[in-house]
C-alpha cells in the first residue's frame, strides 16, 4: 500500500519535471503552457497578496447560501413526500418535468431575474442541488422499516415526534448521500455561473485571467480550485463523522 502510494508520487514528480522541461526548452509554447515553477510562484504570490483568498471567499459565500437553502427546503419536502403518498403524487409530474433541465441552462433565467447579483448564483445552486437532495431524502424515507413507524404510532408518538425521533435518524444516511452528491455540483455551478455572469469570484478570476492572457495566473486559479475541492471534501467528511458517528463507523468498516 505504502509502496504504491510512493509510485504515484514519483510518477507525478516525473510528470512535473517533463512539464517544466518541455516549457523551458519551448517544445510546447510557453505562452500557453508556462513552466510549472512559474505557476507555483504565481499561486504563492496571489495567495500572499490575498487575491485568491478573496475570490474564493466571494465564491464560497454564494455556494454556502445556495447549498444550505436547498438543504433547508428540500430535506423537509423529501420527508413530506416520502411519508404522504398524496403529497408525492401531487408533485411527481412537476418534478419529472423540471428534472431533465441541465442546471447551467437555468443561468440565463437567473440572469434575467437577478442580473449579475449574488442572488443569481444562489438561485442556480439552489436549483441544481434540489434534485439530489430531494430524491435521496425521499428514497431514505421510503426505505424505512414500516415496523418502526407503526411501533412509534402504537406508543402514541405525535407526528412531529415521529418525524424528529424516528424518521429523521432513520433516513439520515441517505440525506447525507444527497448532500455529498450536491457538494461537487455546488462547486461546479458556482464556477460556471461566475464565468457566465459575474465581476468577482474564483470562476470569474480564472476566465478573466485567460482573457487577459495572464496564463500563469489562470493555472494558479485552477490550482486553488483543486485545493478548494479537496478541502471541501475533507470538511464534509469531518461533518459526517461528527453528525453521524455510527454511520461513519459502519462505512469505514465496510471499506475495511
Amino acid at each position: 500500500m505504502r509502496e504504491s502510494k510512493l509510485n504515484g508520487i514519483f510518477f507525478l514528480l516525473a510528470l512535473f519535471f517533463v512539464w517544466e522541461l518541455a516549457s523551458r526548452s519551448e517544445w510546447v509554447n510557453p505562452l500557453i503552457v508556462p513552466p510549472l515553477s512559474k505557476i507555483f510562484v504565481s499561486f504563492g504570490s496571489l495567495v500572499a497578496t490575498g487575491d485568491i483568498p478573496l475570490q474564493i471567499l466571494a465564491s464560497m459565500k454564494r455556494a454556502a447560501v445556495g447549498y444550505f437553502l436547498a438543504a433547508a427546503v428540500f430535506i423537509p419536502l423529501g420527508i413530506l413526500m416520502g411519508l404522504f403518498e398524496r403529497c408525492y403524487r401531487a408533485l411527481e409530474v412537476v418534478i419529472e418535468l423540471l428534472r431533465p433541465v441541465p442546471p447551467p441552462v437555468v443561468i440565463p433565467v437567473a440572469l434575467l431575474f437577478f442580473g449579475l447579483e449574488d442572488e443569481m448564483k444562489i438561485f442556480v445552486i439552489f436549483f441544481s442541488c434540489a434534485w439530489p437532495i430531494l430524491l435521496n431524502t425521499l428514497d431514505g424515507v421510503r426505505n424505512i422499516d414500516r415496523l418502526l413507524l407503526n411501533t412509534a404510532r402504537t406508543f402514541g408518538l405525535s407526528h412531529v415526534k415521529i418525524i424528529w425521533q424516528v424518521v429523521l435518524p432513520a433516513c439520515s444516511p441517505q440525506i447525507m448521500t444527497g448532500l455529498r452528491v450536491s457538494l461537487p455540483i455546488t462547486l461546479i455551478l458556482v464556477v460556471i455561473s461566475e464565468m457566465v455572469g459575474s465581476t468577482d469570484g474564483i470562476g470569474y478570476f480564472i476566465l478573466d485571467s485567460q482573457r487577459r492572457f495572464k496564463v500563469a495566473q489562470m493555472y494558479a486559479g485552477m490550482l486553488a480550485l483543486a485545493v478548494l475541492g479537496y478541502a471541501l471534501n475533507l470538511l464534509f467528511n469531518l461533518a459526517h463523522r461528527a453528525l453521524l458517528p455510527w454511520h461513519w463507523g459502519m462505512l469505514r468498516k465496510e471499506q475495511g
Binding site: 502510494k5 504515484g8 508520487i9 423540471l98 441541465p102 461546479i188 470562476g203 475541492g229
Partner: protein, 259 residues
C-alpha cells in the same frame, strides 16, 4: 416506482393549475411579462422556432458535439479503466494524479481549452471528453477489480487467453459498473456542452438560450430551455432502452434473486 401504473391525475392536475396560474398571472401583469411571458406565448415561440428552422441548427450542433464528446470519453475511459483495473502497477503510477485532478471542478478546464484550441467545436468536444471521462473511468476500475478471480482462473483453465478473457469475462463482468459510469456521464456531458457553448460559442443551444436572454427575448429563451430539457430527457430514455437491451440478462438475474 410506486407499483401501480395508474394515471397520476393528481400530479397532472397540480401541473395544470400551476400553468394556468402562470398564464393568467403573466397576462394580468405586463411588468411580470418581461420576466415570465404567458405559457401560450412561450409555446408559440417554440413552434415558430421550429417552423422557421432557427432552432434546428443549434440543436444539431449541440447534439453532434455531445455525441462526439461522449463516445470518445466512453471509449477512452473504458479502455483505460480496464488497463488500470487489471494491472496494479499501472494503477499505482496514476493513482495520485487521478486523486489530484478529480476534486477540481471540470468546468475549470474550459479556459485552458479555449487557450489551446480556440473557440469552436474542437474546444467544446475536448472539454466534454475531459469531464465525462472521470465517472466512467472510476467505475470501470471498480468493476474490473470486483470480478471474482475464480472466474478468470476458470476461463484460463478452459484455455481462454488474452483477448478472449478480456472480451468474454472481464468486459461482461465489469459491465454493470461501466453502465453506472456511463449513466452519470450522460448528464455531465450535456452540462459541459451547454456550458461551453454559453462561455465561448457562436452556435448550439447553450449559446442560443444565453443570446436570447441578452436580447431580452424571454419567450425564445424559455422555448430554448424546453428544447434542451427535451433533449436531455430523450437521451436519458434512449440510454435506458439501450441498457435494457445490453444488460437484460442481469435484470432477469436480479429479479430472480429477489423472488
Amino acid at each position: 416506482m410506486n407499483g401501480g401504473k395508474t394515471f397520476n391525475w393528481l400530479g397532472w392536475l397540480v401541473l395544470a393549475i400551476l400553468l394556468s396560474l402562470w398564464e393568467y398571472g403573466a397576462r394580468a401583469s405586463p411588468k411580470l411579462q418581461f420576466y415570465i411571458p404567458p405559457v401560450s406565448q412561450i409555446l408559440t415561440a417554440l413552434g415558430q422556432l421550429f417552423a422557421s428552422g432557427q432552432v434546428a441548427g443549434h440543436l444539431l450542433s449541440t447534439l453532434s458535439r455531445f455525441l462526439e464528446g461522449y463516445v470518445i470519453a466512453a471509449l477512452l475511459a473504458v479502455s483505460l479503466g480496464i488497463l488500470l483495473g487489471h494491472f496494479r502497477f499501472a494503477y499505482s503510477l496514476l493513482e495520485t494524479l487521478i486523486e489530484f485532478l478529480r476534486p477540481m471542478p471540470s468546468v475549470a478546464i474550459i479556459p485552458v481549452a479555449v487557450l489551446t484550441l480556440g473557440i469552436g467545436d474542437a474546444m467544446i468536444v475536448a472539454v466534454t471528453v475531459y469531464a465525462s471521462l472521470w465517472p466512467i473511468l472510476v467505475n470501470t476500475i471498480d468493476g474490473v477489480r470486483n470480478i471474482e478471480p475464480t472466474l478468470i482462473d476458470t476461463a484460463r483453465t478452459f484455455g481462454l487467453r488474452g483477448w478472449a478473457i478480456l472480451w468474454r469475462v472481464i468486459l461482461p463482468g465489469a459491465a454493470p459498473y461501466i453502465v453506472t459510469g456511463l449513466r452519470i456521464s450522460l448528464s455531465i456531458a450535456l452540462i459541459l456542452v451547454t456550458t461551453a457553448e454559453m462561455i465561448a460559442g457562436s452556435r448550439g443551444l447553450g449559446f442560443f438560450i444565453l443570446d436570447q436572454e441578452r436580447s431580452f427575448d424571454s419567450g425564445n429563451m424559455y422555448a430554448g430551455i424546453i428544447v434542451v430539457a427535451a433533449l436531455g430527457y430523450g437521451l436519458n430514455r434512449l440510454f435506458l432502452a439501450l441498457e435494457g437491451k445490453a444488460l437484460g440478462w442481469r435484470r432477469g438475474m436480479l429479479a430472480r434473486e429477489s423472488v
